[in-house]
Symmetry: C2
Subunit: 210 residues, 2 copies
């Protein structure tokens, strides 16, 4: 089983690492970070670089594909290097997945048309405009398409998918070993729960608002 | 404000990325990944490489230091390259922090002697043997020393510390933008909650059991 995590400039690190940490120990799995070109790929801040060990051309038939989100996603919406690869690999994947605004790239590739999917809360209207039926749920399964909400939701997405693939006991082992017993110091992790003025501030600044 | 995240071979990726994602946007902060030598550093699986842009020698006075854990921590317990650097920078840090078994490295450097601290649940007895007063809490503050429990606890550690440094509103903004509204599909994230046979299995296999 090959798991391919796609990288592009200005991705969000935790979007990629949440699924990585929760999926990489699936029985028989090999994980590979993949991008247009091999070598370091910088995140949204430019201060973190993850190495892509393979190019898209090197990885034509992954079983699972994961597309993280991040500010750089905007530049990918017409990038046929990524979108064409997503269409190609999707023809044979068992699971096609995303975290955060990674679902916008899947949608731009035409893979989510008419399907239920999720994204970062700020990006849900954009997902609808791309012909997807957006939902505010944290993890959404629609056939083999699995999408997670913003950034940290990739941990829940990965753990849920790990359970679906390898059973509850495997996923519980991953949860126990990663000590995933979250205790956030605040309860501000969704637009429904956060202070309204913060939600309004980020909506005003959002690149997805028309 | 400079935040230095220390890397070493066979670290655990999420240990480093949880604090990175939650601390990097502190006002005026610059984050740097640092290791013995610059260049890619491989994680526990060998399939992920994060780039260290600076060597320990390049970063003599960070304001915040973060030490992630991971299987490779065992090889660091007598590595004066890392331990000596930790002692040096600790002399001037505002906050000295760790995630998971990173606290064992801080303890080996002599920085936690007699202090309250936490670690991965499997490593708590080892922390005691190193002269630290271990606690099973998820995030522990003792003066300027902040330790997080296993792997995913680095998100809670980072968010808590971000609030302490820059105020509740900043930390709530980080939580909202990372959509950190955790919804784990299982409730197996601690030894108290996970199925007992899984806890026993991992204790039997642990490198920390005597």
């Amino acid at each position: 089983m090959q798991i391919a995590i796609a990288l592009y400039e200005r991705f969000t690190a935790l979007d990629a690492i949440g699924p990585y940490q929760t999926l990489k120990d699936l029985p028989g799995a090999e994980t590979v970070f993949v991008a247009e070109q091999t070598g370091p790929v910088r995140d949204e801040s430019g201060t973190l670089a993850l190495v892509a060990d393979k190019s898209f051309a090197d990885v034509p038939r992954p079983d699972i594909v994961v597309v993280p989100g991040g500010p750089g996603q905007s530049d990918q919406m017409e990038n046929e290097q990524l979108l064409g690869w997503l269409r190609t690999v999707d023809a044979t994947t068992t699971w096609t997945t995303s975290v955060c605004t990674g679902s916008l790239a899947l949608a731009a590739a035409g893979l989510l048309t008419g399907r239920r999917a999720t994204s970062h809360w700020l990006a849900l209207p954009m997902l609808d405009r791309l012909g997807v039926r957006s939902t505010g749920e944290r993890v959404v399964f629609d056939g083999k398409y699995v999408t997670g909400a913003g950034v940290s939701a990739g941990i829940d997405m990965g753990l849920t998918l790990a359970g679906r693939i390898a059973g509850d006991e495997h996923a519980q082992s991953v949860q126990l070993l990663t000590e995933y017993d979250p205790q956030p110091p605040y309860d501000a992790g969704s637009p429904e729960k956060a202070p309204a003025h913060l939600v309004a501030r980020f909506r005003d600044r959002s690149r997805f608002e028309q």
